[in-house]
Symmetry: C2
Subunit: 338 residues, 2 copies
């Protein structure tokens, strides 16, 4: 079922009505921790699980040190369409770079990228074109130069559909969920196929997630002393891709504990959710954000041009007990007020 | 100068005397945060630095989120002689393994290991023999099987010189320092050439450092579902060695922030101390534990059979302002009471 509302105002009014209707179930004076979530099974499941594992004396109580929650980023904490935001960064940066070094135009992969032929970049089993574009835009500079470049891009670039800076497009309901989990003693980690260096520039400011709790794809840096200044030079070597079966691998390598809660939106998150919820001796929780909202955002499962696919994880959700969020129905608002 | 005391009792008496002598400089009622450290320049430098960066209103105040302290493990938090403890684990495990699979005795590297010919294992630029022994003892099992094996070893194995379980040999002065830093809002990380999987089994219990704050050498695991159970199988692939110039690289990859304080004991820590203290806009601190104590522990700098070498870092210490701890002189006790 897909509940469509004609205007955001109407959506808020309905949400408010549902909230009021739900008030008797809240203790007197209790604040709604998830005001942008409409009342329904997804919101109830989240609140009930968090309460069960965090309330001292609860039979399902989990010590705070083990309350690890992992979040996919693209498509789960912010949109991933029409392209993952980091890909916009790569294309914008490449465009600037070619102005300085016109010889780069000879590179067929640069041509494909600048011409918007993303299919060409993804050809081949190892996506050589994409790797070439990422090497041109994500390697060869120091980590500080890269950080400055991402900050400058965030300050000026705008999302093609929403016309807003990319870092103002985090999903408001997920920001509330992150805050609620931390208020209940959880540690919140990002576990994303995106680049760790890219996300760490803004993750603390946007999500309240510090750099040391960001797990992402990484390549090694190279340590150098330049005139008495220690620097780390980014490379494309020893690349670890933190996606699909790489997500539990990244969780083990970087966190070293099994999460008790995992949040994703695509088949790239399937193994993370399996690792978190299957045969876990702790009470566990899995959640998928289902993009069902073409009016306010996007709708895609197996859509061929979408950057995220949700087929196998959605199929397994009922038997595994994973909560599926219907974005159009469950989220009263999508983005923070500008 | 090397102050030798005839008995531990005398050492404690002198330490106590120095403590009493120093009392007037402590506020009335203040407890000594580092009781196992003798009064002297090293202890004064630590306490003064920690106070400067953590006291609100101090001109050198650093926000808590950036109070990152990184510690080498072997030789800094516990001994590394006559061999790093993880090497004892590998050799003990290999001995057991050969009983089950006698054919392994044909392997010349297994022969070298069991015969104590460690020089043979370290031959070649990539130390193939050592890698072979580590592959036999650290790969091919699930992470849970490995954890159980390390726990069982810790429960039964004894250090050849001290006759105590290895996990009771953390340096008492460093345990106090870790606690003091955390009490002052620091996050304490291990950054070690040792295996992350090995250290994470006991780091929280022994040092109060949780798995997610342990950076070490890592190889990738492989995710599998075995009869509905998600497991991670350890491999030797994609090995990252967190030592020497790899330490700042590991800090960047796993923590994503530059530390303000770093603690080491050998040339393997040189680049970590450089990265932490050189041209750091924050007030920073570097410290080297100098093994000067053959009576209670070991004495080595460039000793050819020692597993740790301290030559270049010791040479750079004065110009870089790194504190050098004289173990024999600065530490009143070495190990916790049994």
């Amino acid at each position: 079922m897909d509940l469509r509302l004609s205007t955001p105002g109407a959506a808020r009014a309905v949400a408010l009505g549902l909230l009021v209707a739900a008030t008797p179930t809240l203790p007197v004076g209790a604040l709604d921790a998830l005001p942008s979530w409409r009342e329904g099974p997804a919101k109830r499941a989240i609140l009930s699980y968090v309460e069960r594992v965090s309330r001292p004396g609860s039979p399902d109580y989990v010590p705070a040190a083990e309350r690890i929650a992992t979040f996919d980023n693209d498509g789960t904490l912010w949109p991933e369409n029409p392209l993952p935001f980091q890909m916009f960064y790569a294309l914008d940066t490449l465009r600037e770079r070619v102005k300085q070094e016109p010889a780069l135009r000879e590179d067929p992969m640069v041509q494909a990228a600048l011409g918007g032929d993303l299919a060409r970049l993804l050809e081949g089993p190892r996506h050589e074109g994409l790797l070439r574009v990422l090497a041109l835009t994500h390697a060869g500079m120091t980590t500080e130069e890269f950080r400055t470049s991402v900050q400058r891009w965030l300050a000026t670039a705008r999302h093609p559909r929403y016309g807003r800076p990319y870092d103002q497009l985090a999903y408001q309901p997920m920001l509330e969920l992150l805050r609620h989990l931390r208020a209940k003693g959880f540690s919140t980690f990002i576990v994303s196929g995106g680049g760790a260096d890219f996300m760490r520039v803004w993750s603390e400011r946007v999500y309240g997630i510090p750099p040391e709790q960001v797990v992402g794809s990484t390549a090694l840096t190279r340590f150098e002393l330049r005139q008495g200044q220690p620097v780390l030079v980014k490379s494309s070597d020893h690349l670890f891709v933190d996606d699909k079966a790489g997500k539990p691998v990244g969780i083990h390598a970087f966190i070293g504990r099994r999460p008790i809660a995992a949040f994703g939106n695509s088949d790239g998150d399937l193994q993370m959710l399996q690792f978190t919820t299957m045969a876990n001796p702790r009470p566990s929780f899995g959640l998928l954000v289902h993009h069902t909202d073409p009016r306010r955002e996007y709708a895609y499962d197996a859509h061929p041009t979408s950057s995220g696919k949700l087929v196998e994880a959605l199929r397994q959700a009922p038997e595994r007990g994973w909560v599926v969020v219907d974005m159009a129905k469950d989220w009263a608002v999508l983005f923070p007020q500008p």
